[in-house]
């Protein structure tokens, strides 16, 4: 299994935090490895306390299913094929802000961002993901 290193995770984290600051936002940012285990995390001063758990769950969810978290949400609505999936795995987050992290097209982990609108969360997660790979294979 190709796995993210701490140096790479810290680069993803620092890039996402800088992007959040540039946008005037205060974010929680989590990075998990290829095994969906927490690798690095930071909560900016003033960021929502409830987003600690959500950012970690977004990162896990993105790695659990190797897709942007928002893609799952499009399938988990009432009447949809994955309705209710959020109760599995001690809680999934199925709205945008979680993205797989790839190197040369191979998934090595995931990033989860929480602290603002889902559009902002996704944008900051994308900035972090792009720090690792020039091409990110999916979008939410």
């Amino acid at each position: 299994m190709t796995d993210i290193t701490l140096e790479q995770a810290e680069r993803v984290l620092a890039t996402a935090l800088a992007d959040a600051t540039a946008r005037g936002l205060a974010m929680n940012v989590a990075v998990v490895d290829a095994g969906a285990n927490l690798k690095a995390f930071a909560r900016q001063d003033g960021a929502w306390l409830g987003s600690v758990d959500i950012s970690i769950k977004k990162a896990r969810t993105a790695r659990y299913f190797d897709m942007p978290t928002g893609d799952i949400g499009s399938l988990s609505q009432p009447g949809g094929p994955l309705f209710g999936i959020e109760v599995s795995n001690d809680g999934l987050i199925s709205f945008p802000g979680g993205l797989p992290l790839t190197i040369d097209g191979v998934i090595v982990g995931a990033i989860g961002v929480s602290g603002s609108t889902v559009e902002d969360d996704h944008a900051v997660a994308s900035a972090g993901a792009e720090a690792l790979a020039l091409t990110v294979g999916a979008s939410a």
Copy 2:
């Protein structure tokens, strides 16, 4: 971080309980501090047992995201941007009855009320919040 004192929390609690009594209601009322940890709680005689947990979760939810719990619910409906957020943080409550507590505009904790309709819950929570601050910055 400015934090609520027990004297302040007891004032919020007593005001909310008196307001509930004046309305002929029996309520569960919880107050959490700036770190979202329980500070004070009371359940009036005859109030719903299931509302112990809900009132505490409402208070935590309001502090976790620094907004009225009802605001989250308006975003977490099917098709909404935060659909399914309730599974995070060991359970959020996203309907009205939870409000941040502020002193001079700084959030120092939160109140959660449960035991009647969400309109009643919100009204009693507002009464409690107003005991602490002359201006509460948000409404559910």
Copy 3:
């Protein structure tokens, strides 16, 4: 079922808090009703955050088994008849600080105190219990 009223729970709580203050301690104090459901709670300024949960668990444990929590601990040691009982009921606390609350010998709830040594916790719990009944039928 004879049950504790909020007025009685508040009297127990206030007496325990005053006793803690007189001893120069900062405590978490919880009162549960005859159904072992939380009735009233307060955390004094500066009291341990980890004692929120412990004080509530002490009160529940005392009512779950209608005895001082310390009595359970004497039976739950390695080799004892109740070894490991602490993992039940989402977590019991089996050291002193929890006591049944009685009126005329009838158990109507329980008090749990946490924030200092177990001797201090027990002493403050006893003060609270005595506010309700002249005779408390058990000691830890």
Copy 4:
């Protein structure tokens, strides 16, 4: 309540990680704030996966009771006054590796380290804590 900033938490984290590297160890390091909520985290390459949770629980435990985690373990042995306390608060860790973080004697958060022997864990946690305050008031 004085709270740790992200800049301070990152300094604690970086110091602890550098200390671990200098000792030839691979560690999980967690920092929580004054409210016991996660502030920063990093897992070094090759560090135990099971230590993610343990490092976070050590940090929380140290802040929950404002003392080194090892101090609690000395009281929670069979026959000790706090036997069984580990089942509270969704799981406490009561062996060394968690320490309060102080600035000018005021507790602003805590650090938890897991990944080696408890002696190593404690030594690395101490290095992290010393990055924030010249004097750490307790030892495990």
